[in-house]
């Protein structure tokens, strides 16, 4: 075949693929829109679109308004006790005699406090059965602690459906409940401290069809992934046949699959979550990213301030989302923003927030709405994570599929699609482990400076936010002398790596003071300790450990053993979306088995280079055990009250960076699986993708 003919054949092939791609896209789009219309919009349209507002003067009937005694929550009881104590204190300071004022709205019975509240029962009587798509309660003046329940009543006055006791958001003065059922009447019960019948209470019963575009996108992605997996298997099997004939290696880039899957899953999750704060301590991460998006003068708008204080309204459905986003937009006004200043120097602990900060700044520059600016900032995090994961999978010489599978775990995707530094930590450490294993497996070549920069750079990037992970780099100390020009240089390298690890561990206890904040706290172990937990003290806990190291060893090993079983088989460890929820133990167990199965064997190791040697495996095992012990100990020292018999605050996500070394530790090139590589790859990479898709549908997609 001459050159021109080859070129033509290549062009024809490309055209064929492009046409097939377009057809798949169109089919997937049409099918997902069809699902939305058939399963979600048709029931609404079948009932007929309607919208009616009921007010106290119009069909909203007042059934009763009476005083009732409701039991106070433990939190409310503590607040009242504290207030009383302070009044006593104030009287003491002012030299007055304290006389306890009895609040006529409170009474104590059997050691429990009850508050007098006004229970207002309202009713809407429909003409026949009425389909209630969603019900909006609107109260122009929300009094403090106003709660309500809504019940749907059937023809024989039986309760067909009832909402939980819900607090009406005082910032929105409005709440929307998604129901989708037919009732004869609706009964609204409001509990308030003052009478509410004087104000204009409105109840809007609406049944309107509107296409849920995020859900359509979701189904579109599901269709594409299904067809993609099928095409992948077909193409791979074809390639393997060709390979058998020609001996030429054909490849389907797993890193590209990872990159696309990570971005798509993260985007779906991000779009569904909007401005809801669903991650642990997400508001504090937002605060750091928000500050990072400014130069020296930080302009904090009311919306940003509320978000920083974890006080931004959250939404449960699309109607509420519209209200919340309108509220946020109204309060995102820089003309009355709070002004504060910061140093231009970006301190080391804040550098992991750079992608979020940069994208948030871009969002502001583009005059995006508050909600869109937030989502763009989250996208910055997701993009950075996907790029790091892409590089990790691309550079991996061994177990590419496992690297991609770990990087696609729901915990990782969740961290990447929200405000969190975990994404940067996980991304860099995956890359660092891959590069380290590559270095260790190429036993014959000398180490080049560029390799040192890349590996140490990745470890530094992953450990800046959590310095304890730098222990993972310690394995480099054991590189043999043959990898260097002479023994002297080998020892110089070892000393440098040792110094690097030591420097990172040093900053855990003595953070560098680069700004004017908390000099005394930072420089003094007696004060250091996590503020979220009472009774913590770094110095106190260290003293406790060293008083009887054996006692602490028992606590440590006991906790590690107990948690290991829980992490491998318990619910929601690596399949967790923060406050949104996690999957059951069945998923964790399947994931753990796949991890084990994927680590222990593979379909074709003949083309793979040798993995870790015996010595390196022993060192990896020691590193995994040592780092786990250090993670537990660091939580014991900083987060757990002094002398506690359990270690508090340790979470499964802390061990994600250790999963890949674990895979390499177990890998064995002698065991060969009798399955085609394509099937193996689809299973290993497909499992976390399916888990993510299911979790997005179950936890994140709002009705």
């Amino acid at each position: 075949m001459n050159r021109k003919a080859m070129q033509n054949s290549w062009i024809n092939k490309r055209r064929k693929y492009a046409m097939a791609g377009i057809v798949v896209f169109l089919l997937a789009g049409a099918l997902s829109l069809g699902i939305e219309l058939a399963f979600f919009q048709y029931p609404i349209l079948k009932e007929g679109e309607s919208q009616k507002t009921y007010t106290l003067h119009d069909n909203l009937q007042l059934l009763s308004e009476e005083e009732v005694w409701t039991e106070l929550s433990a939190e409310e009881q503590t607040t009242i006790e504290l207030e009383q104590e302070n009044e006593k204190l104030l009287a003491q300071v002012n030299g007055e005699t304290y006389s306890e004022e009895t609040d006529s709205n409170l009474k104590e019975e059997n050691g429990k406090l009850y508050r007098r509240r006004i229970e207002t029962k309202l009713e809407i009587l429909f003409e026949g059965k009425q389909y209630c798509g969603n019900v909006t309660l609107l109260m122009p003046q929300v009094v403090e602690n106003l709660t309500y329940t809504l019940a749907g009543i059937g023809p024989t006055s039986e309760i067909l459906w009832q909402s939980n006791l819900t607090e009406l958001d005082y910032r929105l003065a409005c709440d929307v409940l998604q129901i989708g059922k037919r009732f004869e009447k609706l009964q609204l019960t409001i509990y308030s401290s003052e009478k509410v019948t004087g104000q204009d209470i409105q109840v809007e019963v609406k049944n309107q069809s509107s296409i849920h575009w995020i859900r359509v996108c979701y189904f579109f992605v599901v269709m594409l992934i299904l067809s993609g997996a099928l095409l992948f298997i077909i193409k791979k099997l074809e390639q393997e046949k060709k390979k058998a004939i020609t001996g030429q290696e054909y490849g389907f880039q797993i890193e590209t699959i990872f990159f696309v899957a990570s971005l798509v899953l993260g985007l779906l999750l991000m779009l569904s979550n909007g401005t809801n704060l669903t991650g642990f301590d997400e508001h504090t991460h937002f605060a750091r990213a928000y500050a990072m998006s400014f130069d020296t003068t930080i302009e904090t708008t009311e919306s940003a301030m509320r978000m920083k204080a974890n006080d931004i309204p959250q939404f449960d459905n699309r109607e509420e989302r519209r209200l919340v986003e309108a509220y946020e937009e109204h309060n995102h006004d820089f003309s009355w923003a709070d002004i504060s200043t910061q140093s231009r120097f970006v301190t080391y602990s804040d550098r992991s927030y750079l992608p979020m900060g940069i994208f948030m700044r871009m969002g502001r520059a583009m005059s995006l709405s508050f909600a869109n600016m937030i989502m763009l900032a989250k996208f910055g995090n997701l993009l950075a994570y996907s790029l790091l994961g892409f590089l990790a999978v691309k550079f991996a010489l061994h177990k590419k599929e496992m690297v991609a599978a770990i990087a696609l775990l729901p915990n990782c995707i969740f961290a990447a699609s929200g405000f969190s530094y975990d994404a940067i930590v996980n991304g860099f450490l995956l890359l660092a482990v891959v590069l380290t294993v590559n270095l260790l497996s190429k036993t014959e070549s000398k180490i080049a400076p560029i390799t040192v920069f890349l590996i140490l750079g990745a470890y530094i990037g992953g450990s800046t936010a959590k310095p304890v992970y730098m222990i993972m780099a310690f394995i480099l100390v054991f590189l043999s002398d043959d990898r260097f020009l002479n023994k002297g240089k080998a020892w110089l390298f070892r000393f440098s790596v040792f110094a690097l690890v030591a420097l990172f561990l040093y900053v855990i206890f003595f953070p560098p003071i680069s700004t004017s904040a908390n000099y005394e706290l930072m420089g003094n172990l007696a004060y250091a300790g996590d503020r979220r937990n009472q009774g913590t003290s770094v110095l106190g806990q260290l003293t406790f450990i060293f008083q009887d190291p054996l006692r602490y060893s028992k606590i440590l090993l006991g906790m590690m053993g107990k948690d290991l079983v829980g992490y491998l088989m318990g619910p929601g460890t690596f399949f967790n979306y923060g406050y949104l929820g996690g999957l059951s133990w069945g998923w964790t167990l399947t994931g753990s088995l796949l991890l084990l199965f994927g680590s222990l064997s593979g379909p074709d190791f003949l083309n793979e280079q040798e993995g870790l040697g015996k010595k390196d495996k022993i060192l990896t095992a020691i590193m995994i055990f040592g780092l786990t012990a250090v993670i537990y100990t660091s939580m014991y020292v900083t987060y757990t009250p002094v002398g506690s018999a359990v270690i508090e605050g340790v979470q499964g996500r802390y061990f994600i960076p250790l999963l890949l070394p674990f895979v390499y530790l177990l890998s064995n090139k002698k065991r060969k699986l009798p399955v085609p590589k394509a099937i193996y790859q689809v299973f290993v990479i497909g499992f976390p993708i399916v888990a993510n898709l299911w979790m997005i549908y179950r936890f994140a997609l709002k009705p």
């Binding site: 504290l82 002012n94 180490i447 400076p449 110094a499 690097l500 900053v507 004017s516 000099y519």
Partner: protein
């Protein structure tokens, strides 16, 4: 098509430059990396020797926890508000205290703030604040004269001097029910079950570049260990024909 080719060519050039530069970091890099390491070591030394002095404000008691309330302490003439604290080894540069003027427009009256060694009459610093300054309900800043001496266990005494005549009512300093770490506050001789609302102002040296420089130093040192050193000192090979 032309534009596509041009973009392709530009990208090719960029990759070529990156490739060439990357190759330079191969074992034949020679003396470059050790020199960079040396430079970083010098910079690190300079950063240690020349620290950056900054004001360090420590919030002692500026907010109320849930259920706590702030209350005013009326500084009538002859009444002392005494705050005892320990700076340990750090000199106290000044104090910021929450002042409530009770809506009075002062002209000449003064709020005194003297620093003594705790439980002695040894005065270390004598300071004044003109009440005519600033707005009402502010954290006023009182810098301490001879602040170097204000170290260790200190007693800060606030008192009011009326120079505006009888019409001027005394101002108040605000306090609340939280007792800050090992401090004691006395008002008119009685110990308060709380602390005045204030901030301590210290100065301290910071080393903003040290963290990065020391990490860069060890990374460059590690990279230097993988350099062959051969290039700059390589002897010319003699060919015998």
């Amino acid at each position: 098509m032309k534009i596509r080719h041009q973009i392709y060519e530009v990208l090719q050039k960029v990759f070529r430059v990156i490739n060439t530069q990357t190759k330079r970091l191969n074992p034949d890099t020679g003396i470059l990396l050790p020199l960079m390491t040396l430079l970083l070591a010098i910079l690190l030394l300079v950063s240690f020797v020349v620290p950056k002095m900054v004001i360090d404000t420590i919030k002692v008691n500026t907010t109320e926890e849930e259920g706590d309330v702030e209350y005013p302490l009326l500084l009538e003439e002859g009444t002392f508000l005494v705050h005892q604290m320990n700076t340990e080894s750090r000199p106290l540069f000044g104090i910021q205290s929450a002042l409530f003027k009770n809506g009075i427009q002062y002209e000449k009256s003064i709020l005194h703030c003297d620093v003594y060694e705790a439980n002695t009459e040894i005065r270390l610093s004598s300071n004044q604040y003109q009440l005519s300054q600033g707005e009402d309900l502010q954290y006023i800043y009182i810098p301490f004269a001879d602040y170097e001496a204000c170290v260790g266990e200190l007693e800060i005494r606030f008192w009011y001097e009326n120079l505006d005549g009888e019409a001027a009512k005394p101002p108040s300093l605000l306090a609340n029910g939280r007792v800050f770490n090992e401090t004691r506050t006395f008002f008119a001789g009685e110990e308060l079950p709380g602390t005045i609302k204030c901030m301590y102002v210290h100065t301290h040296a910071t080393y903003p570049l040290v963290y990065d420089l020391r990490i860069l130093l060890v990374v460059f040192l590690a990279a230097s260990a993988t350099v062959t050193w051969k290039t700059p000192f390589r002897k010319k090979e003699v060919h015998h024909e």
